[in-house]
């Protein structure tokens, strides 16, 4: 007796493929993880490794051609020249200020969006927070340049009491740029917060302020820490906004971008400063549980 052939070849072929791979767990895993691992190791880590390696080279002082000779002179320069320390400290201070401002603005905003607002309002606010991300970075930076101009809107609304271009303008602009990256994680943090906790706190006699301080802040803190990873690291790497609204201010990324055309190995050595700062920051944030919130 003959069994009629199954309609179409597909199922049997698929079966054959499954049958081929079923006993070969390793092959399966390799095919699955291979491409992303290659991307991660070769493209991403490879580029960083090349950068680190070049920090130990030097350039010919006249032709600027790279001399492939091992030396720690660049690292020595970065550590001993006071200018790099000044700029590094200034950059980290700016990053901390931007992060603090964003946290202070994002916390009540996310609280309102998540707890107080109606579902319709909530959707509107989420859209409002995310919309600026659609606009080009440069457009936003130049918009702030216009605002801070000596004869600009900020100047005539305040009667000339504007900080002008400089460190303050840089902090304000960067805080504006990175605000959505703080609001969204904090908003998500509030969404995970059981509402019954507010009632429990109130039932136990907690004032609203006490509830915020002892219940809300500790539970939302990892979300703030998660947001701060974005605001902190994005600020450390920024050199465009400071070039547009920073006046004569230079941050560590400006030093790197200035040096990269002249002395790429020294630029690589300087870039170890923000890299180290980020690694330390990530390590500190890991303790808060922020990395589960990203």
């Amino acid at each position: 007796m003959t069994v009629p052939a199954p309609a179409g070849l597909e199922p049997s072929r698929r079966g054959a493929i499954s049958a081929f791979f079923a006993p070969k767990r390793r092959t399966r895993l390799t095919l699955l993880l291979g491409p992303p691992m290659v991307w991660l190791v070769v493209v991403y880590l490879g580029a960083i490794a090349a950068l680190l390696v070049s920090a130990f080279w030097s350039v010919d002082s006249f032709t600027e051609n790279i001399v492939h000779q091992f030396s720690t002179a660049n690292l020595h320069t970065v550590v001993t020249e006071p200018i790099y320390r000044t700029v590094a400290v200034r950059t980290i201070a700016v990053a901390v200020a931007v992060t603090a401002i964003d946290a202070v603005i994002a916390f009540p905003m996310a609280f309102y969006m998540s707890v107080v607002a109606s579902p319709r309002m909530r959707r509107l606010l989420v859209v409002a927070v995310l919309t600026p991300l659609w606009a080009s970075y440069l457009v936003k930076a130049y918009a702030w340049r216009t605002l801070f101009a000596p004869n600009g809107p900020l100047s005539w609304t305040t009667g000339g009491h504007t900080p002008g271009y400089g460190l303050t303008a840089t902090v304000v602009t960067l805080a504006y740029m990175w605000l959505p990256y703080m609001v969204i994680p904090v908003y998500a943090g509030f969404e995970r917060l059981p509402r019954s906790l507010f009632e429990a706190s109130a039932d136990l006699g907690g004032t609203p302020w006490r509830t915020v301080r002892s219940v809300v802040v500790p539970l939302v803190f990892p979300a703030i820490a998660a947001g701060s990873i974005f605001t902190f690291s994005l600020t450390l790497g920024d050199y465009i906004a400071v070039g547009i609204v920073g006046g004569k201010t230079q941050l560590i990324a400006n030093v790197i971008s200035d040096q990269v055309t002249l002395n790429q190995p020294l630029a690589a050595a300087v870039s170890l400063v923000p890299l180290t700062a980020i690694v330390l920051y990530l390590a500190a944030m890991r303790r808060t549980g922020a990395l589960e919130n990203v």
Binding site: V41, L45, I48, A49, L52, V53, F56, W57, S58, V59, D60, S61, F62, T63, E64, N65, V67, H68, Q69, F70, E81, I83, T86, V87, A149, P150, N151, G152, G164, Y165, G247, K248, Q250, V255, D258, Q259, V260, T261, L262, N263, L282, A283, R286, L291, E292, V294
Partner: protein, 392 residues
Amino acid sequence: MKRTLHSLRTPAALLAAGVLLAACASSGGGGDVSKRKVPDVPMAKSIGPGEGSLNIIVWAGYAEKAWVRPFEQQTGCTVNVKVGNTSDQMVSLMKSGQYDGVSASGDATLRLIYGGDVAPVNTKLIPNYATISSFLKNGDWNSVNGQMYGIPHGWGANLLMWDPRTVKGSLDSWSAVFDKAGTYDGKVTAYDSPIYIADAALYLMKTQPNLGIKDPYSLTSKQLDAAVALLKAQNKHVGEYWADYTKEVQAFESGTSVVGTTWQVIANTINSGAKTKVKTVLPKEGATGWSDTWMISAQAKHPNCMYKWMNYIVSPKANAQVAEYFGEAPAQTKACDQTSDPKFCDTYHALDAQYAAQIHYWTTPQQQCVDGSGNNCTNYSDWVTKWQEVKG
């Protein structure tokens, strides 16, 4: 996600291994500036048909539609223009090997020649070379041992620019941006490049003769420190530095800057707009300046188009157009018959070799003093470090 940091350990170890490997694999290099040899780069023997396109790095205003279009129509070479903001950026872009040529100033030319980034130019293949001002030929910034490494394009001085709405009276001294910069506190601007140190050195050369500065590009470390001190004092009154010329245009139009160093093309751009009118002057202390040379990359992918361009851009008509647009003296003597303003060449002293000799052209500072006064001068990398120190 908690494993994120743990999983970083393996890559970190790999990185460390990479660093060690690189350390082992590295080989010797470097050398003494005074005993340098020019790398052997072959020179073109003839020009073939155009390759259909051309990638060049130019100073702002050197490749505008008005004269690029006719070139494209004549030769079939489509011109792709990349504007360089500073000589440092131009050198760096040329090293990428992706460009056919560059309009290099004197502080870039030697770096490119000795770096092996540009090829010698066969001037026999450039008919318009014959009538170029003779004082621009075989200069120590564009040739080595009598071999030209480019075609002279034009020259001029860095000027002092001010906005008469804020700055009253007429300026005639660089003191406006140095000793008297406090008058315009927060609205002074300066060129954001280490080469700007020479402007301070030139001012000191004229105002503090006891420092013994003979040439603004040949500074001992003591003289460099004096120039840096002057620039640090200036920094207190600087609102913004400019490297990108559009930034200075915008800064003057918006009133952010009211006085500072400039190129004539920037003043022309501002004055052609409606926002404000600025004035420029060549101050009494003299000025730093540029003498630009078209150079062909050693790795040019479109060498024929580049040779055609080098001949075209110093042709009387095109050279006159560029010179008038940018506001500089044309290198081509016959360009003076082609300018729309018949007195243009007189205004810019285009044919006046003595006047030209008074400008302190950008050149790369070296340990072997460029004015030949000894070998105790500060080199460009010293200047770079100091310039970052000035900006703080």
